[in-house]
C-alpha cells in the first residue's frame, strides 16, 4: 500500500488522498481548510534562488549602512542595525540585546545562507549532503525571524523622534523596505515538499 499517496492534515489529522496540482494550485484540507501542499513548477527553484540572492544583497546593505540619522543642535547620531544591538548591550540590557540580535541578525542571516546552501546545488541538480538537517532547522527557526516587525519598529521610532529632532532615513531603511517583499517572495517560491520528494526518489 502506498502511504506516500496519502497525506494527513497537520492541523486536524484528517487523512486525504494526494492529487497532482497545477502550477499555482494549493491543496487545502477538506475539513479544516489548512494548506496541505502547493503545486510546483520547474521555475520554482530558479525563482526561489533569484529572490534569495536578491535578499542576501539587500540584507548586506541593510546591515552595512545606517538605518536612520538624528540631528539635534549640530549633534549628529546615526544608527545601523548592529548599533541597536550594541547600544542595548553597553546599556546593561544584555537580555534585550540578545533578543534583538537573535530575531533581526542571527535568524535572518542563517535563514538566507541556509536557503542558498540548499538552492544553489539543487539548481545544478545535486542534493546537498545536509539537506535533511537544514530543512528541519529552517522549519524550526522560521518564526523567530522578525525583519518585518523590526521595520515597523523603525517607522514608529522615527515618528516618535520627529517631534524632538531632525530625522533622516538612511540607505539601510530603504534596503529593509525592499527586503521584506523579497523575503516573502522567496518563501513563496521555496517549496520544501519538492525537496522531500526528491530525497524520496534517491532513497
Amino acid at each position: 500500500m502506498g502511504l506516500s499517496t496519502l497525506i494527513a492534515c497537520h492541523e486536524c489529522d484528517l487523512l486525504q488522498r494526494r492529487v497532482p496540482l497545477a502550477k499555482a494550485g494549493v491543496a487545502r484540507c477538506r475539513r479544516c481548510d489548512a494548506v496541505l501542499y502547493r503545486g510546483s513548477s520547474s521555475e520554482d527553484l530558479d525563482r526561489a534562488l533569484a529572490y534569495t540572492l536578491g535578499g542576501l544583497i539587500l540584507f548586506l546593505i541593510a546591515n552595512a549602512y545606517p538605518i536612520v540619522a538624528l540631528e539635534i543642535q549640530a549633534n549628529r547620531q546615526a544608527a545601523s542595525l548592529y548599533d541597536t544591538v550594541h547600544a542595548l548591550w553597553i546599556d546593561g540590557r544584555e537580555d534585550v540585546s540578545l533578543l534583538v540580535a537573535f530575531t533581526t541578525l542571527v535568524t535572518p542571516s542563517l535563514e538566507i545562507s541556509l536557503l542558498l546552501y540548499l538552492l544553489i546545488p539543487l539548481r545544478f541538480g545535486r542534493t546537498p549532503s545536509e539537506t535533511v538537517a537544514v530543512l528541519r532547522f529552517l522549519q524550526r527557526v522560521k518564526p523567530w525571524s522578525m525583519m518585518e516587525v523590526f521595520l515597523l519598529g523603525i517607522l514608529v521610532s522615527l515618528v516618535k523622534l520627529e517631534h524632538l529632532a531632525h530625522v533622516e532615513p538612511g540607505i539601510a531603511l530603504w534596503a529593509f523596505g525592499a527586503l521584506i517583499p523579497i523575503l516573502i517572495a522567496a518563501a513563496g517560491a521555496f517549496n520544501p515538499e519538492d525537496i522531500w520528494t526528491k530525497i524520496d526518489q534517491v532513497a
Binding site: I7, D13, R31, V68, L70, A87, L99, G153, W196, D200
Partner: protein, 209 residues
C-alpha cells in the same frame, strides 16, 4: 473505501511533523523515527497541554511587570521621564499620531492579552475534551500563531531609540526593566503557541464518531 472520513491516528498512522511523511504508529515504541528525515515521531506533540500551560503561566506572571514597569527612561534638557508601554501609546496619541498609537496599542496591548486569553481558552477546552466548534477553535489558533510575533514591535522601537538618542549632554534614552519583562512575555507566549497541538481540538470529536 468507506465513506466516513478517517484520521491518521484512527488508522494507526502518524505523520512526521518535519516532512509530513506518514508512518505506521506502534504503541509502546518510544523511539520511532521518521524513515525519511529521521525526526522523532509523535502521534501528537509530546506533553502538549502540560507544556502549553507551563509557558502560559510564566507569561501571566510576567504580564503585569511587563505592562507596569517602565520600558524606557528618557533624560533630556527638559528633564527625566520614564515610559511604560501604555504611556508611550498615550504620548503618540496626544502628539497627533493617532494611527501609530493604534498600531502600537494593537501590537503591544491587544495582541498579547488576546493571545493569552485565546491560548488559555484553547488549553481548557482541549483538556475538557470539548467538542465545541472545532473549526472556530482551529481558526483561533491560526490567528494566535500568525499575529504573536508582532508584539515584538515595542522592543524594537526601544532598541532603535536607545541607539539613536545618545547625545551625551543633550538627551539619552535607556531601556527599562519593563522591556525585559515584555520581551519575555512575547517569547513565552510564542513558545506556548508552538507547544499547543491543534489536532487535539479534533480528537474528541473523532473518538466520538
Amino acid at each position: 473505501m468507506n465513506q466516513r472520513p478517517m484520521t491518521a491516528r484512527q488508522l494507526g498512522l502518524c505523520a512526521c511533523h518535519t516532512c509530513g511523511l506518514l508512518s505506521k504508529w506502534e504503541r509502546g515504541h518510544v523511539d520511532l523515527t521518521c524513515p525519511r528525515c529521521r525526526s522523532h515521531l509523535h502521534l501528537r506533540k509530546p506533553d502538549s497541554i502540560a507544556r502549553t500551560w507551563a509557558f502560559l503561566i510564566a507569561s501571566y506572571l510576567l504580564f503585569l511587570p511587563a505592562n507596569l514597569l517602565p520600558i524606557m527612561h528618557t533624560n533630556s534638557l527638559f528633564g527625566a521621564q520614564s515610559d511604560t508601554i501604555m504611556s508611550g501609546i498615550v504620548y503618540l496619541w496626544v502628539s497627533g499620531s493617532w494611527h501609530l498609537a493604534l498600531v502600537v496599542f494593537i501590537a503591544s496591548i491587544l495582541v498579547p492579552s488576546a493571545k493569552l486569553l485565546a491560548l488559555t481558552f484553547l488549553a481548557v477546552s482541549v483538556q475538557k475534551r470539548s467538542q465545541w466548534d472545532p473549526i472556530q477553535r482551529t481558526n483561533m489558533y491560526r490567528i494566535v500563531e500568525l499575529v504573536g510575533r508582532w508584539s515584538m514591535l515595542d522592543i524594537f522601537v526601544v532598541s532603535v531609540l536607545v541607539a539613536l538618542v545618545q547625545l551625551q549632554s543633550l538627551a539619552t534614552i535607556r531601556a527599562g526593566h519593563g522591556a525585559v519583562a515584555f520581551g519575555a512575555v512575547v517569547v513565552l507566549t510564542m513558545f506556548a503557541a508552538m507547544e499547543f497541538d491543534p489536532r487535539l481540538i479534533w480528537d474528541p470529536q473523532d473518538d466520538a464518531s
